[in-house]
């Protein structure tokens, strides 16, 4: 079964999600990867406003390829998330509702997700041309000098994702392979 979720991700929708749930996401999300995270944290340090609201919003770790004429975005699959781990707990403490990426997260990130009720979604790495089809519009809203790493506001429709780590800290990277191993041994 696939659950259709709407963004921003308000708590009543976020909290019941469980690791392993297959979902689609529709609505608005924001992109940010390595360099953009560094700048967001610098803005916070300087007491300046962020270019987008954090409350219940979802950040997608992606650096899309350039959009060819006639398409809103180029290929747009996830990048590996651990490089954002050192910045994520602070963003979660300010209300960030979820992240989309691929790969493991640090214990600190998972702890902050539990404390603030956030969800970590996985998008399929390498399904980038397909994922681009779920993007209806794309607008650079901050740090245009960062090129592919600029912050973009995306409107997505039925963007396919999987709950990797839920707000209770259940982790599909542990549960999934273990379940398959048990099935194989039976």
């Amino acid at each position: 079964m696939i659950r259709d979720l709407t963004l921003p991700l308000h708590k009543p929708a976020a909290l019941p999600l469980r690791a392993g749930d297959l979902v689609t996401l529709s609505g608005v999300l924001y992109t940010a990867r390595d360099a953009a995270h560094k700048r967001l944290i610098n803005l916070l340090r300087e007491g300046k406003p962020l270019p987008f609201p954090l409350k219940d919003q979802v950040i997608y770790y992606v650096g899309p390829s350039p959009a060819p004429a006639g398409l809103p975005i180029g290929s747009a699959g996830p990048t590996t998330s651990y490089r954002m781990d050192s910045y994520t707990p602070e963003l979660l403490s300010l209300g960030l509702g979820g992240m989309i990426g691929k790969g493991r997260r640090s214990p600190e990130v998972i702890e902050a997700m539990r404390r603030y009720g956030a969800v970590y979604f996985g998008a399929t790495g390498g399904a980038a041309a397909l994922l681009a089809r779920s993007v209806l519009s794309c607008e650079v809203i901050a740090f245009p000098d960062l090129g592919p790493e600029a912050v973009r506001r995306l409107t997505v429709e039925r963007f396919p994702a999987i709950v990797l780590i839920d707000s209770m800290g259940n982790n599909l990277y542990e549960i999934g392979p273990a379940a398959c191993t048990r099935r194989a041994e039976r």
């Binding site: 650096g63 060819p68 790969g103 041309a129 599909l172 398959c180």
Partner: protein
Amino acid sequence: MRELPVTDVQAAVRGLFLQINRRVSPDIEAAMRRALERETSPAARYVLTQLTDNYAAAAETGLPLCQDTGMAVCFLTVGQDVHFTGGSLTQAVEQGVRDAYIEGCFRKSIVSDPLFDRVNTGDNTPAVIHLSLVPGESVRILAMAKGFGSENMSRVFMLPPAAGEEGVLDAVVTAVREAGPNPCPPVIVGVGIGGDFETAPLMAKRATARPIGVHHPDARYAALEEKALERINRSMIGAAGIGGLTTALWVSAEYAPTHIAGMPVAVCICCHASRHAETVL
């Protein structure tokens, strides 16, 4: 002596990179479809379905298969009776890469300085060029676009000779296990055994371009490839690392003579978006 204008090399390199970033080779596509057919986990099937649908999406839109269109790597095997004319061979390769990445709307992912500036060069150059000289008058170009999600998970182990076959298998399985979901499994694993500190990884990288289904001609190394593949897939890391039957599509090993005191083992991990193609001029 054969004269070969460097513009021919430039055009070939451009064509190869335009092709590989949009289309995987048929052996990989077939292996991915087999992985989907035999998969039983619904979540892994969700992922593998997207990955096989992605081939059509890239073909229909002209978009690259993955937004990380990688670092451009070229293995040039040059016949020693070839005389390149009309300019610099290296610059011709660079220009071919530049042309492809700009024309193809591919992402430019190269920074000029790794540590301090990290400023994007804007055209995905420089490329990584490996040159070898052989007898004859042809030029073979193997182009690879290497994404760094998987490159970051590749490893070199300087094993003692006593580590033996078990040591090699252990190194391979450890690299894949510890990489877990990060390199976008199902992966293709290249293993370079022997040589020295820099040739082992070169062999490993080259090995990732061997077609799926083609074993090493030496039966002992072919058996090693089988065993490694079997052990990797027993880990049940699965597609995207969320649990499943196919963690690796294939393992290719290469070996070279080495020193009496050592057994370097390099494990090059390549994601399912293993983009490579070869042409002969």
